[in-house]
Symmetry: D2
């Protein structure tokens, strides 16, 4: 039975490419997303046609018991989750406080923080029993600094980062690698950034930044996700940042 790489948040960007990379290395990729069954099946087909093993699930992580059942079901019927990738974003674009509804703020938390708590609460006992496992959490600049207009996103990601540290403190010594991946820049992902900006603006941004490598390329990001999961347990990385060479880090002006 192949080890499973379960990806919560697997669109055509980071999640999908991470799935491809792990499948290429012999994992069975379980790809989950909220909608777009067709896109999901295409992703599965791409992986399979490259000789990999994968399957797709439509899951709405904001709803009760969805993440919990998913993980239980995969462990029961698919295989041991060796790598869990939590890749749900919670970015809603810049909004002034008065335009940030309590509902939007809460949804940010549900996807950004609470969903990770639910996924970890369900998956970590399995990993703990096996004495090994990896949890890779995609995160954002908003986890380390709150910009204007980022009330919901920053609160959600700040919570996510602290939760990752707390999970790591409890589960690291039990042999489970928790990593917080700080994606500090725009990802060249048509179905998240692309949708948020609109097609035309996204095309312009790519041109301005250099279409080859001015945005973070998801397939290249996937190499680092994979590396993290391969680190020997004597040298685990808990946190790293990533950005394009042409971008300034968040701490620089």
């Amino acid at each position: 039975m192949k080890p499973v790489c379960l990806i919560i948040g697997a669109g055509a960007g980071v999640g999908g490419h991470v799935g491809k990379r792990f499948a290429q290395a012999g994992y069975h990729a379980v790809l989950c997303r909220r909608s777009d069954e067709a896109g999901l099946q295409k992703l599965v087909a791409d992986i399979e046609s490259a000789g990999g093993s994968a399957e797709g699930r439509i899951v709405d992580a904001s709803q009760p018991d969805t993440i919990e059942s998913l993980i239980a079901e995969v462990e029961a019927h698919v295989g041991p989750i060796e790598v869990l990738v939590y890749n749900l974003g919670a970015q809603i674009g810049n909004r002034e406080l008065k335009e940030t509804s309590a509902k939007a703020f809460e949804l940010g938390w549900r996807l950004g923080t609470f969903g990770l708590f639910r996924a970890a609460s369900t998956a970590l006992p399995y990993m703990e029993e096996r004495g090994h496992g990896t949890v890779l959490v995609t995160s954002a600049t908003a986890a380390v600094r709150g910009n204007a207009g980022q009330h919901s996103h920053a609160a959600a990601m700040g919570g996510r980062r602290m939760l990752c540290q707390s999970l790591n403190a409890e589960f690291g010594p039990k042999g489970i690698h928790v990593a917080h991946i700080l994606v500090d820049g725009a990802v060249d992902a048509p179905d998240t950034l692309g949708k948020m900006l609109g097609e035309e603006n996204f095309r312009k941004l790519r041109e301005t930044r250099g279409s080859a490598d001015g945005l973070l390329l998801p397939e290249k990001m996937a190499e680092t996700y994979f590396h993290l999961a391969q680190q020997h347990r004597s040298v685990w990385t808990h946190e790293l940042d990533m950005r394009s060479y042409s971008d300034l880090p968040w701490w620089n002006h």
Copy 2:
């Protein structure tokens, strides 16, 4: 009409002493807490007998529309909220992940992060219209590092800190001072730490640390809260830490 200092989370510890300090300087203190009407009235009486002005409110900040009505009502009938002190804690003691229920995790967020969002969303438009105001947010070490057993608390406080930065980025230039006060140590407060530890353990801790000043003394903390509210707007502090001289900062072992 006296300027109002509204304190959400005003027990016998930090919140109460901050209220006393501002009342002593001529503010009208509006003290809010979830329960203990008698304790609340004693606090008001203490302030009044020292020549200050105060009133108390019983408010459950975890419930819908409570914070919102409170603020609207104070602005309408009591006076302009010049200083808002958000002093609700969300510490539930150390708990392993498997002992941290989804409900406890959510409550942490409701008090730790969401309540501040609700308070800010309601109070800041008043302050913005006046062009000045101060928001002082009590925070904890868990806002900057997640320890084992702190899943709920760290996620809540990490969200709180990022929210403070985001609020500051939007409202600082509008003349509103937002400060994040990182309380990095145990506070000598009988009705929060005291209750969590139990009477006997609390007494022992105080003795071990030095009963005079080994824990943070709330009345001394109040001096720094007051100083922050008096800083000229050309020199605002957004974040500072506080701890007893005998305690190591969180970053030291």
Copy 3:
């Protein structure tokens, strides 16, 4: 005998105003600077005419044994140094790496890091023997992030910040308060920023930012320096930031 507030780096900006503030509260201010005897004497005269007590010293902190003799001499003949303010800057403006000479880089360290080590090594044993004392260290954004062109300054200030933490860890429990003051913005100081920018550019900057409070006003900063030195030892602040309300913090873009 009045307690001494010794200020290393006392020009017409932060250092001078801090001296005034402490003198006003009853300290004897010993003001040290590298040059401009006339400016120094004017500062002393200003303090004295306001009823305070002060004296001036010309000291080149980059030279061997200057700081050491100064402190020994003050302790022997002037009075106990209750507050030491280390206020020497090491900013040389933005320079590309190839324009940053080894000599400039070393001078940055001599003033930015090594001078503090020398001052602390000489003054702290006196304070330790008395069981109390305060060391206030002015620092800069470059202590927490290195921008392009800041090779010398960032390395010097990064060293300064870590040294402050190390000093605090050793001497805090001995009753000595070490505080690292992160000045995150341009100070309205004619003889540092003014000289670096030139008179015309400085005038323009002040106008752009708002001449009343768009830059950090040194006399207002001095209030916070003074507050830090008055904090009860149960509630010491080790680090705080300061900036004008109209400035974005270093972590925001």
Copy 4:
């Protein structure tokens, strides 16, 4: 001509293993250390017997013009330095302030901060002309927090970290990858940690921690150094931490 991986600080620990890893991948490793010609030649022989290419140099980085000549000479006669690994430590063990001489403090800076400045100043112009290159800097927990007794080390490493950020800000957009590798734990390295602790204590530490993987294994660390140098320039990591699974991160107690 093979691309050169130049390692300043190549003993039997991290530096040596990084050299082996890059040599294995086709780089020519130039290994530099201050002393122990025999150990150096053994390292070269090991690499060569595994089919790799390497050479050794004895260099005292604390002396003037040594790093500069080394780099110029390698570029002129050996090959283009594609990867520069700055791996000099500056740890002198825990010492109280009064036992930290000005000389020791200065030496810490010379090896910890200034040597990197010199190496970067000499090597980066070559890389800039070629439009690519990688600078990997080994760093330590002391770069992000100053513990008691770490006055020299923390100041040196704090300076190193800020310098890395400043170098990255200037040279990242020019195609040069600068990475700051925060080694947050004891490395299983007989000739640095082993010498500092003494043979007996080192043996005990290894046993206590788990001799297989309780300390950071240098050959496993080398995999991550290598990965960093292979990251596509659209996804560069500037900073990551590393520690054994059984160690708590520096931010936890």
